[in-house]
Subunit: 157 residues, 2 copies
DNA sequence: GTTTTTTATTTGTATATACAACTATACTGT
DNA sequence: ACAGTATAGTTGTATATACAAATAAAAAAC
């Protein structure tokens, strides 16, 4: 389990002073882990990984229309994960269906099942609570500011 | 490859407006990926993963003293990774040594080799450049502010 | 001094990530 | 129509992550 309520130097038990630039990187990495750990606790009782959850949410967003592999991949946060094998796992749990697209036999149409929709609906309040859990440490202006700073920070040159 | 220079809604191609709380989570996740992708480019020519690099840096920080598995694990960002198998990979490349601690035969003493130190020294300038690459998008005050906001954000209650 | 508990690490299994190679289908140009 | 190329997805291999079980040594309890 990750530790919080500490500055990043304490967390990695660094005995030297870190540059602010290095601290941002460590803080982003560490915050990512803290968020992920807490989110996994919600999903764990349902044998869902956060990546599997993410795919289900993308499929629900399709509002009844199927999504092919390309569409799923481009909407995922971690673009390089292996969508085929993620869908395999969801299929085994009857949370999605997979069919060859009749118009283009290269494409695969993936759809969320009623069972998948029910699971997401059950999880919704817990997911929203999770989203607000950490951001309630900040006031509304700071929440907006943090988003802006992260977006400005990661611009490529 | 991850995409940048976009707001998080564009990146995940969301057709609905996201709450600012949800946006922070997505922004942290996504920024984590962008940083990691760029860092992997530096390490890739040397067949090092970022986790392997992290272990080497911890060992260099020991300044000649060996570190046992517990110490390494508690200083890593991702605490739950499997240290034994990470060290296995570093051993194969002669970047570390591993010996049973004479005082306590349960413990394992891991040390960085000269080859490991040389590799880190070679990588140092590129690593510093990487750290400054993104933070140069912000002014010095914003850099400090982003660190403060991330640390405040992730406090547990 | 032997049993019990704790500590330190390893091993096993499942999933995820990263990347390259491969297969199959569709499209393009001639 | 056919060759070449592009697109969509799958498979293979290596590494990493997550977690539980196993092993072994040290410390504590009695």
């Amino acid at each position: 389990m990750t530790t919080t309520n500490m500055r990043i130097e304490e967390i990695i038990k660094s005995n030297v002073t870190l540059s602010d630039s290095k601290k941002i990187i460590l803080n982003v990495m560490y915050t990512h882990n803290v968020i992920g750990d807490k989110f996994s606790e919600i999903l764990k009782p349902h044998d869902l990984s956060s990546e599997q959850y993410n795919v289900l949410r993308i499929l629900r967003g399709q509002k009844g229309f199927p999504a092919n592999m390309c569409v799923i991949q481009e909407r995922m946060i971690a673009k390089n994960s292996n969508t085929t094998r993620l869908i395999d796992k969801l299929l085994l749990k009857d949370l999605v269906t997979r069919e060859v697209c009749p118009d283009n036999r290269r494409k695969i149409e993936v759809q969320i099942t009623q069972k998948g929709l029910d699971l997401l609906k059950y999880l919704d309040p817990m997911v929203i609570e999770h989203e607000n859990y950490f951001s309630s440490n900040l006031n509304p202006d700071e929440v907006v500011l943090l988003n802006d700073l992260l977006e400005k920070y990661r611009q490529l040159k």
